[in-house]
């Protein structure tokens, strides 16, 4: 068989990678380029005409106060949620790798929220916040619990953070568990023989060696929190008074509710850039100080 002819190569490529190439182009590459083109046009989603606008969409995006408010809100939400997710996840991972009875059961249990889609989770928690917690508040007559948290702007943000922590902690826990397991037990023992307490050994030996787990968990939780949509939609729907509209929801509304496709796409690109810069910076800083045993 001739393996060096062009026709052989093309035939092989098309046979194995043809479908993948076609779908990848159709679903990712073409929309990406088309999306860039959209940002320079004004389109309402219906008409056949797409007048060329120049940079007007980007100017509109920069002038869109609601967008920047949503972006700032997303920053605050992400910062708090990311820290809490990782603290809770690390703590859970520490507990379920300590050799306790039934640790596999607990690992599986804490992971359950990740099995279920954000839409359903948001509605479940809406019931918890609106009905269950207020019922507890009324029966114990604690006034801060008897008004639904979701009805105040700060409360809605807090609810969103609580649900995100609950949702992602189990997933990040699994990554930290893998990190804990990859650090060999003999290193811990050596540190303890040298006179460390268990807490000191964890802090000075295990955690530095788990740095890559931290980098990974932070990256995953940052990108997920930045792009939060499903839970935002089902839990708060942006209410009360649009005070919990996150950036992704603003982009969605801009395009599909107000029919400003061009401006929406320009804002989506800005959001992506911001998220990518934050994520990449974090990975860069994290990787720089990595240590090996």
């Amino acid at each position: 068989m001739k393996r060096n002819t062009m026709s052989y190569k093309i035939q092989q490529y098309v046979m194995f990678a043809g479908p993948a190439t076609l779908l990848f182009l159709a679903v990712v590459v073409v929309p990406l380029i088309y999306g860039l083109y959209l940002t320079f046009t004004s389109w309402d989603g219906v008409s056949t005409q797409r007048p060329f606008m120049g940079a007007a969409n980007y100017i509109a995006a920069f002038k869109d106060a609601a967008f920047w408010q949503a972006l700032g809100r997303t920053f605050i939400y992400s910062a708090i949620a990311v820290v809490m997710v990782n603290v809770v996840a690390f703590f859970l991972a520490y507990l379920v790798t300590s050799g306790i009875k039934g640790q596999n059961f607990f690992r599986a249990g804490f992971f359950i929220p990740n099995l279920i889609g954000g839409i359903v989770l948001g509605y479940v928690w809406q019931f918890v916040f609106n009905r269950a917690i207020t019922a507890i508040g009324r029966s114990l007559s604690i006034s801060s619990l008897s008004i639904p948290w979701l009805s105040t702007p700060n409360g809605a943000m807090a609810c969103l953070i609580i649900v995100s922590v609950w949702q992602y902690a189990g997933y990040m826990m699994l990554i930290y568990v893998a990190g804990f397991m990859s650090v060999s037990k003999s290193l811990m023992e050596a540190a303890q023989i040298d006179g460390c307490t268990k807490a000191q050994a964890t802090w000075n030996v295990t955690i530095p060696l788990m740095r890559s787990s931290f980098v990974q968990c932070l990256f995953l939780s940052i990108t997920r929190c930045f792009m939060v949509y499903d839970v935002n939609l089902s839990l708060t729907k942006g209410e009360p008074f649009g005070s919990s509209v996150m950036a992704a929801m603003h982009v969605y509304n801009q395009a599909f509710t107000y029919r400003n496709y061009g401006t929406g796409q320009a804002e989506a690109l800005i959001l992506f850039l911001v998220c990518a810069i934050v994520g990449v910076t974090q990975v860069y800083i994290g990787k720089k100080g990595e240590v090996e045993a």
Binding site: F110, R131, M227
Partner: protein, 286 residues
Amino acid sequence: MDENKKAAQKKKITHGFMMALLILLFLIFIFPFILVVINVFKTMGDITSDPLALIGAHGFTVQNFPNAMKSMGFWGAFGNSLVVTVVSTVLTLLISAMAAFVIVRNKWIACTLLFSGMIASMVIPFQVLMIPLVSLYGGVFGVLNHRVTLILMHVGFSLSMATFMFHGAIHTNIPLELEEAAYIDGCTRWQTYWKIVFPLLKPTIATVAIIDAMAFWNDYLLPSLVLGRKELYTIPIATQVFYGAYSTDMGLVMAALLLAMLPILILYLFLQRYIVEGVTSGAVKG
């Protein structure tokens, strides 16, 4: 001797304390689910008057289930979700494993281009592509509102990650000598791939299948943009639409939410080990 005893006792106490803490945390974690389960068997009035009671004042009822099933069109949505998830997952596995094979084994420009494009695309969030996707396939080609469109889009979005994982698996786990032996015995590339390489990829196939199937089953945003007709709704969309219409009838809502969660929870009961392992290895590699 006494020292050892003391240390053992201390260890026992810390273990007991940690166990109690874990159980408490676990209960907090599943509290929302417990709440749904106890309220699904109550009448609407009982839920409003006391959502925390184990059994409502008007007793036990299972009426919420058939009512919710009917008004959310549960079986239709379940069928749609099942078809979309299964077909998308199988297609993703087949297409991406094949692409990974040709990419690993050949240093052609097209392969390098495709692979680096895929790697780069993994950082692009869906929100950046959704608007052009809708305006292109809805506005220009008018192919929305078909299951096939949704399935192909699902496959297209998950290809990069899947190809990346298969690439790693073929690169590290499948010796080239094995394939060469097959060529010498007279196999073509195509036969070698299906008879030798693909069967050896089983562990990665399981991992990718679990990650993608869960993502497809739970996805809301893409299906909600593609599927606009009621008879095509998947479970997340059906739940969302149902909630919009019946959010005051808490009994029905509880039943609908439980129905939406049950299929995957039942699956988890049986495949728990594989799901946890698959998700971990997928996350650590990705």
